[in-house]
C-alpha cells in the first residue's frame, strides 16, 4: 500500500519488472544467446540454426502448453509422453489402413481427450493422487503401445501427415508456428477466460475455490484433458518429423516438460505461473542442447549441465521466496 503512494508509476513498473520471474528467465535466455553468439559467431546466430533451435523446442513446448494447465491446478501429469506416443501411433495405424489423414489425426486427438478425461476423473472423483494416477496411465499406455505396435515402428505416413513436422509456411517451419500459436491460445485461455481464472483458484486453494462457487472437479478434469490434447499434438509433430510412430516415442518427455515449466516460473505447488514462462523455459533447454553441440561439449557432460541449469533455476526461485519471507 505504502509502495503505491510513495513510488511514482514508472518506478513501480520497473520494480515489478525486476521482481517478475518471466523477465529473469528472458534475461537468462538472452544472456545464453549472447554468449553463444560471441563464442560461435559463424554457426549459432544464423537463420538456419535459429529455426533449428525453435524446431527442437517445439515438441517440448507443445507438451508444456498442456501440462501448464495441470501444474496450475497443483497436480502433475506424468502420462504426457505415453499419451503423445499412443495417440500418434493410433493416427499412424489409421493412416496405414487408408483412413483419411485428417480423420486419422482427429481420431488421435479425440482419444487423447478421452485419456485426459479418464485421468482427470480418477484424480477428482476417486481422489487418487495425481502422481499415482498419471503414473499408472503412463505405464498402461506405454504397454498398450507395445502391444499394438509389437515393438515395431509404423513408418511411411505420407506427405500430408509429414507436413505437420517438416512443412514450412513461408520460411517458417510449421511446428514452430504451431508452437507459438498454441502458446498464444493457452495464454489467452489462462488469462481471459473464466475457466482459466478458475484454474488458478483451484491451484491456490481448492477448498476456497469450491466454497466460492467454482466447479472444482469440472475444472480439474478439463485441465487434464487439455494436457493430454497438447501432448497428443506434440506426439503428431514427433511422428511426422521422422515419418514414423516409434514405440518409445515420448519416453521421458514428462520430465523435460516439467523442467521447462519450472524454469519458466510455473510452480509445482499450483496456483502460479503462466505459459509464456513455459515457452521460454523450453527455449532455454533447446538453446542449451544446441549450444552444447556447437561448443563441442562431450556428450557425457550434457546431462551434468542440464541438471545444473534446472537446479540453478529452482534454487534462485526458492532463495527469492526465502528472502521475501
Amino acid at each position: 500500500m505504502n509502495d503505491r503512494v510513495t513510488k511514482p508509476r514508472f518506478a513501480r513498473i520497473i520494480s515489478n519488472l525486476y521482481q517478475s520471474q518471466i523477465v529473469k528467465t528472458i534475461f537468462a535466455l538472452f544472456l545464453m544467446c549472447l554468449l553463444l553468439t560471441i563464442s560461435r559467431p559463424n554457426t549459432f546466430f544464423t537463420v538456419k540454426n535459429m529455426f533449428n533451435v525453435l524446431r527442437q523446442a517445439s515438441v517440448n513446448s507443445l507438451i508444456v502448453c498442456g501440462i501448464t494447465f495441470v501444474l496450475i491446478t497443483g497436480g502433475i501429469d506424468l502420462s504426457v509422453g505415453s499419451v503423445a506416443g499412443f495417440t500418434s501411433l493410433i493416427t499412424a495405424i489409421a493412416i496405414k489402413s487408408d483412413v483419411n489423414v485428417f480423420i486419422a489425426i482427429g481420431l488421435g486427438l479425440g482419444l487423447s481427450l478421452l485419456i485426459g478425461f479418464l485421468s482427470g476423473a480418477l484424480v477428482t472423483w476417486i481422489k487418487v493422487p495425481p502422481f499415482i494416477t498419471t503414473l499408472a496411465v503412463m505405464t498402461t499406455f506405454r504397454g498398450v503401445i507395445m502391444v499394438l505396435s509389437g515393438g515395431q515402428p509404423v513408418t511411411i505416413l505420407g506427405d500430408t501427415f509429414g507436413f505437420i513436422g517438416t512443412g514450412y509456411i513461408g520460411i517458417i517451419p510449421f511446428p514452430v508456428i504451431l508452437m507459438f500459436l498454441a502458446t498464444l491460445v493457452v495464454a489467452y485461455i489462462l488469462k481471459y477466460t473464466k475457466f482459466g481464472r478458475h484454474l488458478y483458484a483451484v491451484g491456490g486453494n481448492v477448498e476456497a475455490a469450491h466454497l466460492s462457487g467454482v466447479r472444482t472437479s469440472y475444472t480439474t478434469i478439463k485441465a487434464y484433458m487439455f494436457s493430454a490434447l497438447f501432448a497428443s499434438i506434440a506426439g503428431m509433430v514427433m511422428a511426422s518429423r521422422v515419418d514414423s510412430a516409434t514405440p518409445l516415442a515420448g519416453d521421458g518427455a514428462e520430465l523435460d516438460a516439467i523442467a521447462a515449466a519450472v524454469i519458466g516460473g510455473i510452480s509445482l505447488a499450483g496456483g502460479k505461473g503462466n505459459v509464456i514462462g513455459g515457452l521460454i523455459g523450453a527455449l532455454i533447454i533447446a538453446v542449451l542442447n544446441n549450444g552444447m553441440v556447437l561448443m563441442d561439449v562431450p556428450v557425457f557432460y550434457t546431462n551434468v549441465v542440464k541438471g545444473l541449469v534446472i537446479l540453478l533455476a529452482v534454487v534462485v526461485d526458492s532463495l527469492d521466496k526465502i528472502k521475501k519471507q
Partner: protein
C-alpha cells in the same frame, strides 16, 4: 455391529496382504509349478534390489517428500565400483566404501536442497537425477562394465548354505529400517514430521535434521540396491536404473505408504508391495501372458491397490467420525 466393523477394519487394513495371497493362490491353482520353494525363492530374489530401493524410498515418502534421484544414485554407485575395481585395480571393499560415501553426499545434497533451500522435493531430486546420471556417465563413459566374478558371483552364493546373499541383504536392510522407524526417536520423528510439520516443530523436533536423515538414508539404500542388482546382473549398462524410481515408489505406495507422508510401514507394507509387483510379473510369465501386456497389468494392479487405499481411508475417516459422535 461392532464385530462386523472390526472385521471390515481388519480387511481394509490388510488390503495388500489380501491381494498378495489371493493372487498367489489363484496363480498356483492355474499353474501348480508356481507353488514351489524354488519359485518363492525366485520371487524374493527378484525383489531384492527393488525392495531395498523401496525401503529407502519409504523414509522419504514418510516425510511427505519424494526422491526421483535413486535410479541415478544406483547407476553411479554401481558404475563407480565397476570402474574402480576393473580398471583402476582398487580392492573391492574400498570401492564399495567409496560408493557408499558418494551416495551419502548425494543424499546430503538432496536433503540440503529440500530442507535448507526449501525446494520442492520433486524438483530438487529431479534435477539431481539428471545431474547424477550425467556424472555417472562421465565415470563410466557410457560403456557397459562387467564386474569381477568375485563380486558378481555373490548373487548365487548362499549364506550358511541356506539363504541366497541378495535375499539375506534384503532382509538385513529391512530389519534395520523396521527397527529404526519403530524403536528409535529419530525414526518416530520421521512420522511426526510427515504427519504434521507444524505440530512436529512445536513439539521441539528439528525438522531440517529429520529431512536430512531421511534423504541420506534413501540414497544410501539406493547405493546398496545398486550393488545388490549388480550381484545379479553382473553387468552395468548405460541405462542401469533408469526409471526404476517409479517402480520403487509404486512398491511403497502399493504397500500402503501414503504419498502425503506420515502413514506407512516398511514391514509388512513396503516389503509386501515389492513382492506383490514381482510376483505378478513372475506369475504372468508362468501363465505365458504376452510380455507387453505384463506392464499394463502391473500398472492396473498398482492402480487398484491405490484406489482401494483411498477408499479405505475414506471409510476409516467415516468410522472415526461416528465414534466421535457417539462419545
Amino acid at each position: 455391529m461392532k464385530t462386523k466393523n472390526n472385521l471390515q477394519l481388519t480387511l481394509l487394513n490388510n488390503v495388500p496382504i489380501i491381494i498378495f495371497i489371493v493372487f498367489f493362490v489363484i496363480t498356483g491353482l492355474l499353474e501348480p509349478k508356481f507353488f514351489s520353494m524354488q519359485n518363492v525363492e525366485n520371487i524374493f530374489k527378484s525383489s531384492s534390489h527393488i525392495g531395498v530401493l523401496a525401503i529407502g524410498m519409504t523414509f522419504v515418502l514418510l516425510t511427505g517428500g519424494i526422491d526421483l534421484s535413486v535410479g541415478s544414485t544406483m547407476y553411479l554407485s554401481a558404475g563407480l565400483v565397476g570402474v574402480l575395481t576393473v580398471e583402476r585395480g582398487f580392492p573391492i571393499w574400498l570401492a564399495i566404501v567409496l560408493a557408499f560415501a558418494c551416495s551419502l553426499v548425494i543424499g546430503l545434497a538432496n536433503g540440503i536442497l529440500v530442507a535448507k533451500l526449501k525446494l520442492l522435493p520433486f524438483l530438487a531430486t529431479m534435477a539431481m537425477q539428471v545431474l547424477m546420471r550425467g556424472v555417472a556417465l562421465l565415470v563410466t563413459e557410457s560403456r557397459p562394465i562387467k564386474l569381477p566374478q568375485a563380486f558378481s558371483g555373490l548373487g548365487s552364493v548362499r549364506l550358511f548354505g541356506l539363504i541366497p546373499v541378495p535375499i539375506a541383504l534384503l532382509l538385513f536392510f529391512l530389519l534395520i529400517a523396521a527397527i529404526f522407524l519403530s524403536y528409535t526417536a529419530k525414526g518416530r520423528q520421521i512420522y511426526a514430521v510427515g504427519n504434521n510439520e507444524e505440530a512436529a516443530r512445536l513439539a521441539g523436533i528439528n525438522k531440517d535434521n529429520i529431512l536430512l536423515i531421511s534423504y541420506v538414508l534413501c540414497s544410501v539404500f539406493a547405493c546398496a540396491a545398486g550393488l545388490i542388482a549388480v550381484t545379479q546382473y553382473g553387468l552395468i549398462s548405460a541405462a542401469f536404473g533408469e526409471g526404476i524410481e517409479f517402480n520403487a515408489i509404486a512398491a511403497a505406495v502399493l504397500g500402503g505408504v501414503s504419498l502425503a507422508g506420515g502413514v506407512g510401514k516398511v514391514f509388512p507394507g513396503t516389503l509386501i508391495g515389492t513382492l506383490l509387483i514381482q510376483m505378478i510379473q513372475i506369475a504372468l510369465v508362468y501363465l505365458k501372458v504376452d510380455l507387453y501386456i505384463t506392464s499394463i497389468i502391473s500398472a492396473l494392479v498398482i492402480f487398484v491397490a491405490v484406489f482401494l487405499d483411498s477408499f479405505r481411508l475414506s471409510i476409516l475417516r467415516k468410522m472415526e467420525r461416528r465414534h466421535i459422535f457417539k462419545a
